[in-house]
Each structure stands twice: as structure tokens, then as C-alpha cells.
Point group: C2
Chain length 199, copies 2
Amino acid sequence: MASPAPWKQLLLTALDSNSHLKHANFIQIATVGFNGKPSNRTVVFRGFSGNSDKFQINTDLRTNKVEDIKHCPFAEVCWYFTETWEQFRINGKIDIIDGLNSSPLKLQQRETAWFESSLKSRSQYLGNAPGFPSIYDETSMKQTNLNPSTGPVDAFCLLVFDPEKVDYLNLKSNNRVVFTVSKPQSEGCKNWISKNINP
Amino acid sequence: MASPAPWKQLLLTALDSNSHLKHANFIQIATVGFNGKPSNRTVVFRGFSGNSDKFQINTDLRTNKVEDIKHCPFAEVCWYFTETWEQFRINGKIDIIDGLNSSPLKLQQRETAWFESSLKSRSQYLGNAPGFPSIYDETSMKQTNLNPSTGPVDAFCLLVFDPEKVDYLNLKSNNRVVFTVSKPQSEGCKNWISKNINP
């Protein structure tokens, strides 16, 4: 059993200190598109996968970000905590888990994520394709008819983000620490090392 | 004279409605590194360049982001306003203005940006190189000795970000509008078109 990543406690403490703010779990995630240009958008941190240091993010399979990630699985999350003035820049790789995934374990993980979402969140996946021109029609009415026991719909996609480097900056104390994985991973084990760097 | 970009008033209104929050002008900017992977970090919006729709950002020439931008000048800013629940995703191109720039006009712009910064902000550029291992030494003491009339130091760099696409999302009204430049630019003129899209 791997010991917890050394930055995880820092992050959990920041989350706790900022938990009175609705936006405390809003993170910005950067990816690279087919054209080689960066994209950046706000998504919601949905907690860690079990006891690991991997993040869960829910998304609509029809968004551009899924295409971006299929093309280039690397991402950098920027998480700024507005109350405590702490920034975490987290670089890592993303695994896309949609309804066609071949792993029964991952499909189970996706189903759990679905049922952990509010009914309001789930109903968004029944709406029109995000990013397409708005046309008011009856399909948008489907949103009200979601059965609470219905499993994940096709558009529901779980993203699992696996951190490989964390750059922590505290603007109050002016401390900056970078955490990196020192050795190649073996069986999910990571050996993290930390270094103080200039802010 | 070009008319103002149609998204600019939306942004100015959001800035005004959120202006009581210290972090209202903190934005996340994504770039692509030499390795083709994305980077993402918080920077401070320093206002528009004159009457244009270009953003100004101050940075240290010694940061990785400057290298990233030299390699690939494209960036996407993600700006989330925590009070009004509005997100602006702004895609564009960055111009780097350091002390070796060949344009006298740009050098003047950089000097103005320097003097518009607080003394505390300016003194950061006298510190040790950001991102390098922390070593306590006397050079960090230089920060207290900055003369207010001294012009920009070598490490001071002005970034000018030129928006080409703006994706606006209002999470309260659930409205999303995308603004794009319809024609190639001629002499700084841009013709913006807008379209309502599904959130």
C-alpha cells in the first residue's frame, strides 16, 4: 500500500479552510487541442478516487475537452483558493471513462460517480449537445423527466486525473514547493519528492 | 477607428460587479510547452492596452511561461467570476515585450506598465529567479532597495494578449455566447460575430 502523496494533506487542508465558499472546488483545467493550441475551462473537482491521489471530474462526452484529451491525455489543473491565497498547479494525465469502457471496474466507478451527482447535475446530460448552436425545441424538456434510479446516460463521462507533478504556492507566506514523482510508477506506487523553490 | 469588441462591455460589467473581491482580476492562463504538454497558472489582469481589447499581464522574464510563449504564442485565459458566476474563456495570441524589444512604442508601453505597478510588485523582479531552488542569500535583500524612479529592470516583461475568440457562460442565467472574429484582421480592425450556443 502506497503512502499518501505528500501534497494531498496540503490540498485537503486548503479545501477545508475554503469549504464555506461555493467555488472552492472549482478548478481550471488546461488541455491541448488537435490544432496544438491550449484550451482552458472551469470544471468541478468531484473528490479523490477511493484512497488514491487521483481526481475525479464529470463531463459531457460531447464537449470538445473529451476530443482534446483523446488526442493528448496530458492536462494541467490550476486551483486557486481565494480565501487562503494558495495555488496548486497540478500536472498529470487523464483517463476517459465513458459507457463503452472495456473495464468492468471502471464502468462501476462511472456508475458510482453518476449516482453521487445531484439529479439536477444528471439531468444536464439529457440536454442538447454543449457548444452547438442553441435551438429551442422539445428535447430540452427531457431534463425534467429523469428517473432517479436510471443509470448513467451515454453522454455521461468520468475523467480520472492522475497527478505527476504539483507546484504549490502560498501567497501569504510566500512559500513555493514543487512535488515530483522520483521514479517510474510500478503497480500504482509513486515515490514523491519535494523541493522548495523561489516563488 | 474600430468599434469596441462586443464582449468587452460584458467583461467590464463583470469586473465591476466583482470588484469588491481581491481575486476578481486573477485569471488562469494556459499555454503549451516545448514538450507539447499544457501549462496553467494564475496571473493578474493589468487592464486593457489603451482603448483596445488587448489584455496586459506583467511577468518575470525568467519564468517558464515566457519560454512556452516564445515556442507557441497561443494561449487561453479562463476567467471565472465567483460573485456573478460568469466564465470567460478567451483564446488568443501573446506578444512578449521585454527590454530588448525593437519597437520604441512597445518599450514605452513596458515602461508605463512598470511605473503603474506598486513598488512591492516591482521589487519582486529583483529577487532570485522564480522556479529555481530556494537558497537564502543576500541577493534577496536587494528587494528593499528599489528606487521609485528607477525604470524597468531586465527581468520585467510585459505580455500583451490579443483575444481572437471569447466563450462566455453565465451560470445564473444558463446563457452561453461565443464571439469570434469573422474576417482576417486588417490594420488592427476586427469584425466580431456572436452566436448563442448550448451551455
